[in-house]
């Protein structure tokens, strides 16, 4: 059984009579423990799709199962939200308390955790994101990366199997972004969480097991980063730009300089260039 099974999803924001679909027949499957990046231009349906996975948007058409639970059954909603947590773009919009430990305890209290266990769970969640010791602080005194990690701890506290990052790195500076990416990789590799990461940064997409490319409400390609990110016609057709090393590889090739392989990262690129000289 896959942890997410979506079949033929359609969604419109404009009522049933509308022909303007934000999702147009999405089939999406994800194995437990997979790390999937959703790529696509603004308005291609990435967030709309992701918001189906934890019941933030209701199912209009199609079938969707999260960890075997049918999203259509309202009785499953709480369980689904517990299995699938979501971290958003702007960390400031996600805090409900001015004390970090209270903020993180909120989810646990809602799920009726025994009060005597809550402090330990809060500590565990903060430790997972490298923020242990910040329990009594205010989220508003933190840096962007720290805020986003606290928002993530709030999600992790209820032990979801799937974590969705909806452009959670977009507003962060370089340092904050690296903090979140390291945390994502650690959750994926050490905690075996299933990760869906929505981003516009190609250097982040490189880290995924699989990239699903969206265009106008459809998934137009799905595969490993090495195949998707090096495929210029495909990226162009989805209105995306390649990572800088891929662009440089192509421009060098057009100038008669041939690297052995198309590099995805700056490290791979410089290695290949060294081999030329």
């Amino acid at each position: 059984m896959d942890i997410i099974e979506a079949k033929n999803l359609f969604y419109t924001y404009e009522g049933e009579a509308s022909q303007r679909y934000s999702l147009e027949g999405i089939d999406f499957r994800m194995k437990a423990g997979e790390f999937v990046v959703l790529l696509g231009q603004n308005g291609s349906g990435k967030s709309t799709l992701a918001k189906h996975f934890n019941g933030l948007l209701p199912l209009q058409q199609g079938n969707l199962y999260i960890a075997g639970l049918d999203v259509r059954d309202p009785a499953n909603l709480w369980d689904i939200r517990r299995k699938c947590g979501m971290v958003f773009q702007n960390p400031d919009n996600q805090f409900i308390s001015s004390v970090i430990e209270e903020d993180i305890a909120f989810g646990l209290e809602n799920y009726d955790f025994p009060p005597e266990q809550i402090a330990a769970e809060v500590h565990k969640a903060l430790a997972l994101v490298g923020m242990a010791g910040f329990e009594k602080k205010s989220p508003h005194m933190l840096s962007g990366g720290q805020k986003q990690r606290v928002a993530l701890a709030g999600v992790l506290a209820i032990s979801p199997e799937i974590i969705i990052f909806d452009e959670s790195t977009a507003m962060l500076d370089i340092q904050g972004r690296q903090e979140i990416l390291q945390t994502i990789q650690q959750l994926h590799q050490a905690e075996h969480k299933s990760i869906i990461h929505i981003t516009h940064r190609m250097e982040e997409a490189v880290l995924a097991d699989r990239i699903d490319l969206m265009k106008a409400g459809r998934i137009v390609a799905s595969g490993p980063p090495r195949r998707i990110l090096a495929d210029l016609p495909l990226l162009t057709s989805a209105n995306l730009l390649p990572p800088l090393p891929v662009r440089l590889y192509e421009d060098l090739r057009n100038a008669g300089i041939h690297l052995a392989e198309c590099p995805l990262t700056i490290h791979e690129l410089t290695e290949q260039l060294c081999r030329l000289s």
Partner: protein
């Protein structure tokens, strides 16, 4: 039209136990026609600075002068500031409020008492200039647009005011790469048409590709104010500030460390490509 920021300091929660200094003794001048990028970590005071220039916050010390006039003086006409200086705050799309895109974008010009034909002409031009199709979106609710479209609709509302100075706080965060590229090309066009641009961003690649001058803020202090060439030349200082460098610069530095001789002052894509072609061209054919 110039803006002078003179010894400006600002403190949050002044007079309470939570008081903290957001900006300390900042001075710089924005000359007409400049394209200035502002860099710095989250919390360094970038957004506070913009709010001070917008007149939304009042400096604790120092002055902000628009064409020599202190914007916080009582007799200063705030409408003048609003007309001449267009400010795009973070997440401008959260400020869309009208029933249709046309009504939203035209809100500013309508307040100026312009004739309706002029209001409509400005609105149409502003919407087209952000890459939206006027006829398609004019009657849509702003809420039905996608994230990137909303952002652009909100910015169109600022442009419809035809400001001379455009200040943008993280305008490209969250935009997809093509929209980002189009948007930056559009900002460059506005700059070429004579607008002065001040842009805050974490995207060092975009800032260094477009700015003629970079300001670096750290813990409320303006610590660097120079051309991108000069700023990128001091690598030790940049890594101390943990700001990183543009990707082309990273590639050049990494290759130089590996013993490949390339000019060290490259930080944009096109010069990098040219240098690599000069260095490697012809040897594997």
């Amino acid at each position: 039209m110039s803006i002078v920021v003179e010894n400006v300091s600002y403190r949050y929660a002044a007079g309470t136990p939570l008081e903290s200094a957001a900006l300390k003794q900042i001075s710089f001048t924005i000359q007409p026609g400049e394209f200035i990028g502002i860099l710095g970590h989250t919390g360094c005071g970038k957004s506070t600075l913009i709010q001070l220039i917008a007149g939304v916050l009042t400096p604790a010390t120092g002055r902000i002068l628009l064409d020599g006039k202190d914007i916080n003086q009582r007799d200063f006409k705030r409408e003048y500031l609003r007309k001449k200086v267009g400010i795009v705050f973070q997440f401008p799309e959260q400020q869309l409020f009208e029933m249709t895109v046309e009504r939203d974008v035209s809100f500013g010009p309508r307040q100026l008492g312009l004739p309706p034909s002029e209001v409509q002409a400005r609105t149409r031009q502003a919407i087209q200039s952000v890459g939206l199709d006027y006829e398609t979106v004019r009657d849509l609710s702003p809420l039905t647009l996608s994230g990137g479209e909303k952002r652009r609709a909100a910015i169109a509302g600022i442009l419809a005011m035809e400001p001379e100075i455009l200040i943008l706080d993280e305008p490209i965060a969250g935009l997809d790469p093509v929209t980002r590229k189009d948007f930056m090309a559009f900002i460059r066009r506005l700059h070429q048409e004579g607008k002065t641009i001040l842009m805050v961003s974490h995207d060092i690649d975009e800032l260094s590709a477009f700015s003629s001058r970079l300001l670096v803020l750290d813990h409320g202090e303006l610590i660097l104010d120079n051309t991108p060439e000069k700023i990128f030349a001091d690598k030790a200082r940049l890594s101390e500030l943990r700001l990183g460098v543009s990707q082309p610069k990273e590639i050049v530095d990494s290759l130089r460390e590996k013993g490949i001789d390339l000019p060290s002052d490259i930080f944009r894509y096109e010069p990098l490509l040219t240098a690599l072609i000069n260095r490697f061209g012809g040897q594997n054919e």
